[in-house]
């Protein structure tokens, strides 16, 4: 973190991985030679087979893990991280859960309240502030988790298969919500998913990872304009791109 604040504010590359490799203490090589950048205004999605190191990638980006080799640079202090599970604290209601991160940053009660309310409104949970997590559906829990990260006002947003456990309909609905947030909040996104169509629909760039040890084997730019029209999913161009990505995924898996 040698950068000054003004440098931080002007760099457009928020996340930069160069030849990143990670070997877990037990000898498992999770990532090998990963090059990846996420710039301001980009929404990058990584697809790859299970166990190829996608979560590991995010853990390095967030600082939970550090790479064994290579250079990983994060040019912002405001990083949001949405885990695969909602990871809400079951004894806190929606509002208190959303306030948590601001609370851990020692913000005052008034500031916490305001940030939380704004985030709750953004994810469409207004009116559910006093509900406990157990009283929410899976989709609403995920939205609460999203709101919690939004209170950090992140410049770089990391998502680890946040909608993987949800049904198709809720997932598509939340995809639209997320895209709306992306356009509005202007964060840079790094999104992990198993679903190729989710990847293509959400992102400006799709990266395909090979099986373990994970490498980036292919990169696709997604040409469709933002904000996305939900009906784009049913166009031939969309289907063609999904086909290409799926093909690369299968090849990477085989390799």
């Amino acid at each position: 973190m040698a950068m000054t604040d003004s440098e931080l504010a002007t760099t457009s590359t928020l996340l930069d991985f160069q030849n990143v490799q990670l070997t877990y203490p037990n000898g498992t090589i999770a990532l090998s030679g990963v090059d990846l950048t996420v710039k301001r205004g980009e929404f990058v999605t990584v697809v790859g087979p299970s166990g190829c190191g996608k979560s590991t990638l995010l853990r390095i980006a967030s600082g939970l893990e550090s790479s064994s080799e290579g250079i990983s640079t994060v040019n912002t202090k405001r990083v949001g991280y949405v885990f695969q599970d909602a990871t809400l604290l079951p004894w806190r209601n929606v509002r208190a859960n959303v306030e948590l991160l601001a609370e851990l940053q020692w913000e005052t009660q008034a500031v916490r309240r305001e940030k939380a309310q704004k985030a709750i409104d953004l994810v469409g949970l207004t009116g559910f502030e006093k509900h406990l997590p157990r009283q929410l559906s899976g989709g609403m829990r995920m939205r609460t988790s999203l709101a919690r990260s939004l209170t950090l006002d992140p410049e770089l947003f990391l998502f680890d298969e946040p909608f993987g456990a949800l049904d198709e309909i809720t997932r598509e609905y939340l995809n639209d919500e997320l895209l709306k947030l992306f356009v509005e909040q202007q964060f840079a996104g790094l999104f992990i998913t198993h679903s190729v169509s989710e990847a293509v629909y959400l992102s400006t760039k799709v990266m395909v990872m090979s099986g373990r040890p994970g490498r980036i084997v292919d990169t696709f730019d997604v040409p469709f304009p933002m904000p996305r029209d939900p009906d784009i999913r049913y166009t031939g161009e969309f289907a063609a791109l999904v086909g290409e990505v799926s093909h690369a995924l299968r090849e990477g898996h085989g390799a």
């Binding site: 885990f83 695969q84 599970d85 004894w91 948590l100 940053q105 009116g127 509900h131 709306k180």
Partner: protein
């Protein structure tokens, strides 16, 4: 598209969810709709163990069992036992009458009170000590490794053999009685609290790590609340054990204010069966009340978010 438009969309979504407008939305978010109909009541609460029927369904079965036991008691006392031995099992109504016998009952209630003071004092100290012990072990693996064996020894040591020693060391009075209660009640508090503290989900922990939260904050805002159900379960077990401990101590230590254990030992020596049974039943009922109280208390504190059985 302008930012403003998007904000409006956001609000529309929120309202659509709440007002159940649009059949499509409703279908999408049918979970939400259910919630809206019953926002704080039974929504999403698992069906098990919610005694919502109340009344006879709740207290009927235990009362039926009580009737059965009393019936069996009469039967054994009057039919099974030889008449020459029937003094060993006095009939229930005679035992029950002891509670109203002005020559015996006041002593018994006073003794129960003394036992209660010892048990609750011991329990309180065991709770505090157990939690502190577990928190200390939770701070580092090496502390856990050094201290856990001694918590286990607490559980396995033959307390009865130790009790006379405690009497010699601490006098045969109040302090010694409390110490016996603590020794017996401590282990469940230590092990349950430790289990609770360590049951925290790894991802939840990482949430705090990402905010660079201190150990103390993680303990206060994550581990301790997460451990509460286990702590209350421990308290409930320890409460019953503290009562047993107080009575055991009393049984051995005859000096100082006698508790119900001292009475039991006196009635035993004199083969005074009616008050003996009355005292034993009273002591167990007290244990039940303390156990029940901590169950209720636990439910009050964590029942909203945890199915505290």
């Amino acid at each position: 598209m302008s930012t403003e438009r998007v904000v409006n969309d956001g609000i529309d979504t929120a309202e659509a969810t709440r007002d159940l407008m649009g059949a499509e939305r409703q279908a999408l978010e049918h979970h939400d709709t259910e919630l809206e109909i019953a926002p704080t009541t039974a929504a999403a609460v698992p069906l098990k163990r919610r005694g919502s029927r109340g009344g006879i369904a709740n207290w009927g079965p235990p009362v039926a069992v009580a009737v059965l036991i009393v019936g069996l008691w009469y039967f054994v006392g009057s039919v099974v036992l030889e008449p020459s031995k029937s003094y060993l099992l006095p009939p229930p109504h005679e035992v029950f009458a002891v509670y109203f016998n002005p020559k015996v009952a006041p002593d018994m209630y006073e003794a129960l009170w003394n036992t209660a003071v010892v048990a609750l004092g011991g329990l309180f100290i065991a709770i505090v000590l157990g939690i502190v012990w577990a928190v200390a072990m939770n701070q580092a693996k090496w502390i856990e490794r050094s201290l856990y064996p001694y918590a286990v020894i607490l559980q396995t040591i033959p307390i009865l053999a130790l009790v006379p020693l405690i009497g010699f060391w601490f006098g045969f009075d109040f302090a010694a009685r409390v110490i016996v209660a603590i020794l017996i009640a401590l282990f469940p508090m230590v092990s349950n609290t430790l289990f609770g503290l360590q049951s925290v989900d790894a991802a939840q922990r990482e949430l705090f790590t990402l905010q660079r939260s201190s150990r103390w904050i993680v303990l206060k805002k994550l581990q301790f609340p997460a451990a509460l159900p286990a702590i209350f379960a421990g308290m409930r077990i320890s409460a019953g054990l503290a009562v047993v401990g107080a009575i055991v101590g009393d049984f051995f230590f005859q000096r100082g204010t006698p508790g119900i254990g001292a009475l039991i030992s006196k009635y035993q020596a004199r083969l005074n069966a009616e008050p003996l049974f009355a005292a034993i039943i009273l002591a167990s009922l007290f244990g039940v009340v303390v156990f029940w109280f901590f169950g209720w208390f636990g439910k009050r504190v964590v029942g909203k978010w945890y199915d505290f059985a």
